[in-house]
C-alpha cells in the first residue's frame, strides 16, 4: 500500500477550516530513542495536545547551510552521538505508528550517498510520504524526480521571496504534494516579528500556480505568529521553537523532559485553530 500523501494532512485541515501545523524535529536528538519519543509527543500521542498534522523529520548533516544555530546545535549533538542515515526510517515508522504522515527533510549529499533510488525505496517502505530538499532545486534534481515518481513520493521543493515568476511556476509544476515557501530571506530560526515577504510570496504563488498547496516556514515560534500565518498559508511550519525547548531541557540536565516541547506545541496547535 502506498503511504499517504503529505498533502492529505493539509487538505484535511483545510476541510476543518484551518491551516495545518507542520512540526520539524531531527532524528537522533537528544538520542535516537529520545528523538522517537519526542516525535511521538509532537504527534500528540500522549493525548495532551492534538499534535501536529504532519511531521518533518530532519536528518542531521555536517554542513547544513539552510539551518540557523538552534537546529545546527541539535544536529551536531545528534551526529556526535552517532546518528546514521538509516535511523531516519525508524523515525518515519514511529511517526506513522502515531498516526501522522511523515516527510524527511535533509541535505542532498546524504541522499545521493545512500543512493537516490534506494533511499526512495526505503523511505516508501517505512511509510514515509516524501522528502523536502533544502539544497536541491529542480534544475539539478533529475534522479530524484524519477525516483519519487517511481515510489509515489512527495517531493517538496522550496521557493523564496527572491524567486522569479518563472522559477515559481517551474518549481510549483515539479513539486508534488505541496510547496515550501520560505517566509523570510534567511535560515531557520525563530524570529520575533513576522515579515511582509511571506504574504506577498504566497500571493505570488497563488496567482502563478493556483492549485498548489503552500506551507510557510522560517521564523514561526508561537501561537500568535502561527495564527497570523494561518490566515494566508495552507500550512504553518515550525522547527526551531520546538528544538529550543529540548536544548534547554538538556542544558538543565533533563534531556528526556518534554514539558517545554508540550507547552510550545499546545500554544501552536491552538494558534492554527483560532477563528
Amino acid at each position: 500500500m502506498n503511504p499517504p500523501s503529505s498533502a492529505s494532512a493539509i487538505t484535511a485541515a483545510k476541510s476543518d477550516g484551518r491551516a495545518a501545523l507542520v512540526g520539524y524535529l531531527p532524528v537522533g536528538y537528544p538520542s535516537v530513542a529520545g528523538s522517537l519519543e519526542a516525535l511521538r509527543t509532537l504527534c500528540g500521542a500522549d493525548g495532551e495536545t492534538p499534535g501536529v498534522d504532519l511531521v518533518e523529520i530532519g536528518l542531521p548533516y555536517t554542513d547544513p547551510v539552510m539551518d540557523g544555530p538552534v537546529i545546527q546545535r541539535a544536529g551536531t549533538r545528534a551526529l556526535d552521538r552517532g546518528v546514521r542515515t538509516r535511523d531516519v526510517f525508524a523515525a518515519v515508522e514511529a511517526v506513522r505508528a502515531a498516526g501522522r504522515p511523515a516527510v524527511v527533510m535533509t541535505y542532498w549529499n546524504l541522499i545521493e550517498h545512500y543512493g537516490v533510488a534506494s533511499f526512495a525505496r526505503d523511505l516508501a517502505n517505512a511509510g514515509g510520504s516524501g522528502l523536502i530538499t533544502p539544497d536541491l532545486v529542480p534544475d539539478d534534481a533529475q534522479p530524484w524526480l524519477s525516483a519519487s515518481e517511481e515510489h509515489g513520493l512527495d517531493r517538496i521543493f522550496l521557493v523564496a521571496p527572491s524567486s522569479s515568476e518563472d522559477r515559481i511556476t517551474m518549481t510549483a509544476a515539479l513539486t508534488r504534494g505541496w510547496l515550501y515557501a520560505t517566509a523570510v530571506m534567511g535560515v531557520t530560526g525563530t524570529r520575533s516579528s513576522s515579515s511582509a515577504a511571506a504574504p506577498e510570496l504566497v500571493a505570488r504563488i497563488r496567482r502563478l500556480a493556483p492549485q498548489t498547496l503552500i506551507g510557510v516556514g522560517l521564523g514561526v515560534s508561537n501561537g500568535d505568529q502561527a495564527a497570523e500565518v494561518a490566515t494566508f498559508a495552507d500550512a504553518v511550519i515550525v522547527g526551531s521553537a520546538f528544538i529550543a525547548t529540548m536544548l534547554a531541557a538538556e542544558d538543565a540536565g533533563h534531556p528526556e523532559d518534554f514539558t517545554g516541547l508540550r507547552s510550545v506545541l499546545a500554544d501552536l496547535t491552538q494558534g492554527v485553530r483560532r477563528r
Partner: protein, 414 residues
C-alpha cells in the same frame, strides 16, 4: 565537448559542478552569471581590471628560474611563477579584484568572504577598502586562534571578522556561515568566494580571474625560452591557483598539468586533505565534486599543516580534469612540504607559503621523473609559487623546533 566550452550553461563539468544551494540564492547566482557575461564582453571592464593588476597588485609577476633548487629536481629546468609577489602576498588578489569590480557593477555595497589561513580574507578586506565597500569575513574559530596576525590585518583594513564556532570551526564551517549570511543578505551583498568551488557560476568566474597566471606563463615562456613548458604544477586545496596555472594550457595536450594536494600525515592514515586522492564523489558547498566523507556522506574533517589547503572538497573542474586524466593529482605529506619549504629558503632565498611548498615538493619528484623519461627533451617545469611564507613563520618555527632566539650572543658583559 571541448574543454574551453566547459562548464555548460548550468555549470556542469560532465557529472561535476552544478548548483546544490537553497532556492533563495538562485536569483543572486543568476544575476552574477549575467553580470559576469556582460562584464566579460566589455573591454572597459577588463581595462579597469588590467589597470588594477598592473598598478595596484604589481602584475605581471616574474617568472624566476631557480637553478640551485632545480638540482634537487633531477636537474630539469624549474621556474617559479611568483604569485607571492602580488600585493597582499598571494594569488588571491587576482580573483578578489575581479569580483569586487563585479560587485560594484551589480550595485552592491557589501562583500562577505570565507577564509582559512586568512589570505583570501586579507585580499577581500583589501579590495573592499580600495573600493569603499563594507566587508565581513567569516573564519573558523580554530583558524582565528592560529592566525591571529591575519585577523588583525583584516581589522586594520576595516573589515569585520567573525569567528565561526559551529561544526569543526575551520574553513568549511566558515563557508557554511558565509552562505547563511548570504541567504539573508543577498539583495545588498555579494559573497566573494575565494576559490574555484561553490555553486555555478563561481568555479567559472574564479577560474577566469585566475587565468592571468597561465596567460602570463605562456607569454613569458615564449618570450624568454621560445617554447612551452613541459609541465605546470600547483598546489590544490579548493584549487584556484592551480586552475589559474592550468587554464591556458588545458587545450594544449603537450603541456602536462600537475596538481598537488595536501596529504597531511599520509593519505593512507586518513588524516589528510587530499579530496581527489582520498575522497569520493559527493556534493559539498553547492557543487558536485570529490569530497572527504564518511560512509553516510557526512563530511569528514580534513587535516593539513597548511591552513589554506585544509578543505575537504575541491573545485569541480579539478574533479573533471582528474576524472578525464587531463591533469594528474598527487598527494604531498606535511613532512615533504616542510622539507621543500626549507630547501627553497636555503637554495634560492625565497620563503614560500606552506601551501605553495606542496607544489615545490611535487616538482621535486616530477622533475626526477621527467629527467628519467625525457632526458633529451630539456624538460622545464613551471611551479606556481602561490603565496609567500611570512604568515607561516610561527608554524614553521614550531615544526622545525626553532625558538626564535639568537644562535649566539656577543658583546655583552659576562
Amino acid at each position: 565537448m571541448e574543454p574551453n566550452q566547459l562548464p555548460d550553461d548550468a555549470g556542469h563539468f560532465d557529472i561535476f559542478g552544478g548548483r546544490y544551494v537553497p532556492e533563495a540564492l538562485i536569483a543572486a547566482l543568476d544575476q552574477l552569471d549575467r553580470e559576469f557575461a556582460t562584464a566579460n564582453a566589455d573591454p572597459d571592464f577588463w581595462a579597469e581590471l588590467d589597470g588594477l593588476r598592473r598598478n595596484y597588485s604589481g602584475r605581471p609577476t616574474p617568472l624566476t628560474e631557480v637553478p640551485r633548487f632545480a638540482e634537487h629536481c633531477g636537474g630539469v629546468r624549474v621556474l617559479l611563477k611568483r604569485e607571492d609577489l602580488n600585493h597582499t602576498g598571494s594569488h588571491k588578489i587576482n580573483n578578489v579584484l575581479g569580483q569586487a569590480l563585479l560587485t560594484r557593477r551589480m550595485g552592491k555595497r557589501r562583500v562577505i568572504a570565507e577564509t582559512g589561513a586568512g589570505q583570501h580574507g586579507v585580499a577581500t578586506a583589501t579590495a573592499a577598502a580600495l573600493l569603499g565597500m563594507e566587508c565581513r569575513v567569516y573564519m573558523g574559530k580554530v583558524d582565528t586562534d592560529r592566525q591571529a596576525l591575519n585577523v588583525a590585518r583584516m581589522q586594520l583594513l576595516g573589515a569585520e571578522v567573525v569567528a565561526v564556532e559551529s561544526g569543526s570551526q575551520t574553513l568549511k564551517d566558515a563557508m557554511n556561515e558565509a552562505m547563511r549570511d548570504w541567504v539573508a543578505s543577498v539583495d545588498t551583498t555579494h559573497y566573494l568566494i575565494g576559490t574555484v568551488a561553490g555553486p555555478h557560476p563561481f568555479p567559472k568566474i574564479v577560474r577566469e580571474f585566475q587565468r592571468v597566471i597561465s596567460t602570463e606563463i605562456r607569454e613569458q615562456m615564449a618570450d624568454r625560452y621560445g617554447r612551452l613548458p613541459t609541465a605546470v604544477a600547483a598546489c590544490v586545496g579548493g584549487g584556484s591557483n592551480a586552475l589559474g596555472t592550468f587554464a591556458d594550457f588545458i587545450d594544449t595536450p603537450e603541456v602536462g598539468l600537475f596538481g598537488f594536494e595536501a596529504g597531511g600525515d599520509g593519505v593512507e592514515t586518513g588524516r589528510h586533505a587530499a579530496s581527489i586522492q582520498g575522497g569520493s564523489v559527493g556534493v559539498l558547498h553547492g557543487t558536485r565534486t570529490y569530497v572527504l566523507q564518511n560512509e553516510d556522506g557526512q563530511t569528514r574533517e580534513s587535516h593539513s599543516i597548511s591552513a589554506g589547503l585544509d578543505y575537504p572538497g575541491v573545485g569541480p573542474e579539478h574533479a573533471w580534469l582528474a576524472a578525464t586524466g587531463r591533469a594528474q593529482y598527487e598527494a604531498i605529506t606535511d613532512d615533504e612540504a616542510m622539507a621543500a619549504l626549507k630547501l627553497l629558503c636555503r637554495t634560492e632565498g625565497i620563503m614560500p607559503a606552506i601551501e605553495s611548498a606542496h607544489a615545490l615538493a611535487g616538482a621535486m619528484t616530477l622533475g626526477r621523473r621527467l629527467a628519467a623519461e625525457q632526458p633529451d627533451a630539456d624538460p622545464t617545469i613551471v611551479v606556481c609559487l602561490s603565496g609567500r611564507g611570512d604568515k607561516d613563520v610561527d608554524t614553521a618555527n614550531a615544526y622545525f623546533g626553532l625558538t626564535g632566539r639568537p644562535d649566539h650572543y656577543t658583546g655583552g658583559v659576562a
